[in-house]
Symmetry: C2
Subunit: 125 residues, 2 copies
DNA sequence: ACGCTGTCTTGACGTCCGTCTAAGCAGAGA
DNA sequence: TCTCTGCTTAGACGGACGTCAAGACAGCGT
């Protein structure tokens, strides 16, 4: 987890990096913004926001693509494309188990984004 | 700026609407996603994320365009365009006082977005 | 009143994004 | 092995986005 991964197209955002104080407390540096903005951009589409919610709120924290796809009036490839976007943003993980592919939310990343937007100091249980 | 925001294409997101439980607790409905996604999309650009942070973390909660613009290697109109995007997303308010225009962050909206992303229940003081 | 300074709007251009159809790949079952 | 089902990738197309240069508008100072 050394910080050498600067050439990544993908977001790093390992959960063990506390990442940053609230946006409203200290000005976000350019490099940090460059790393975090793609995550927000990934959530900036209604379909992906719903996908993210369906995955994160699913039983066991994971959802099958076969359950996600029929929830939208979109073709399979389009849903797959959106899931890939979420994956590349580091927001979800994919795992194939037999016939089906399951997606699991990275709650740590989600929590970091929440902390960044938090106005009041966030108290975590 | 006589726009009072009644016929809106703009996001409503009034601070008095609790809006929604955490994304990871209950599935976000399509209409809610359609309203919230533009706010995340607005934060999905490194420049706007920095602008948002600079405004929210500024003294008195507001920042002058004349302070924001020179912080980037971008032209004035481009910064103005990004600020308009933040304004239309309901994330900031603009006010002209004499020569300069000041932008103020809508912390309530920011807090709602944070609450939506929150994984653990958020305790607000 | 006049010009000056600061900000916003307009119009344009290149790139990226969301969506589709068609094709490719991976497992499961017969 | 062959085929069927489920998911992803590839290619294409229309629309939206980020950026800039040029022009327009609003206040201030002389």
């Amino acid at each position: 987890m050394s910080k050498q991964g600067t050439s990544l197209t993908l977001v790093d955002l390992s959960a063990d990096t506390p990442c940053c104080p609230p946006l409203a407390q200290r000005r976000v540096p350019a490099e940090t913004a460059a790393v975090l903005a793609p995550a927000f951009k990934a959530l900036g589409d209604p379909v992906r926001l719903q996908l993210m919610s369906m995955i994160a709120s699913a039983e066991g924290g994971e959802a099958c693509v076969c359950d996600l796809t029929p929830a939208f009036d979109l073709t399979g490839p389009t849903i797959s494309h959106h899931l890939k976007t979420l994956r590349e943003a580091g927001l979800v993980d994919a795992e194939r188990r037999g016939t089906w592919v399951y997606y699991r939310a990275r709650l740590g990343i989600l929590g970091q984004l929440a902390a960044l937007l938090a106005v009041e100091p966030v108290l975590v249980a």
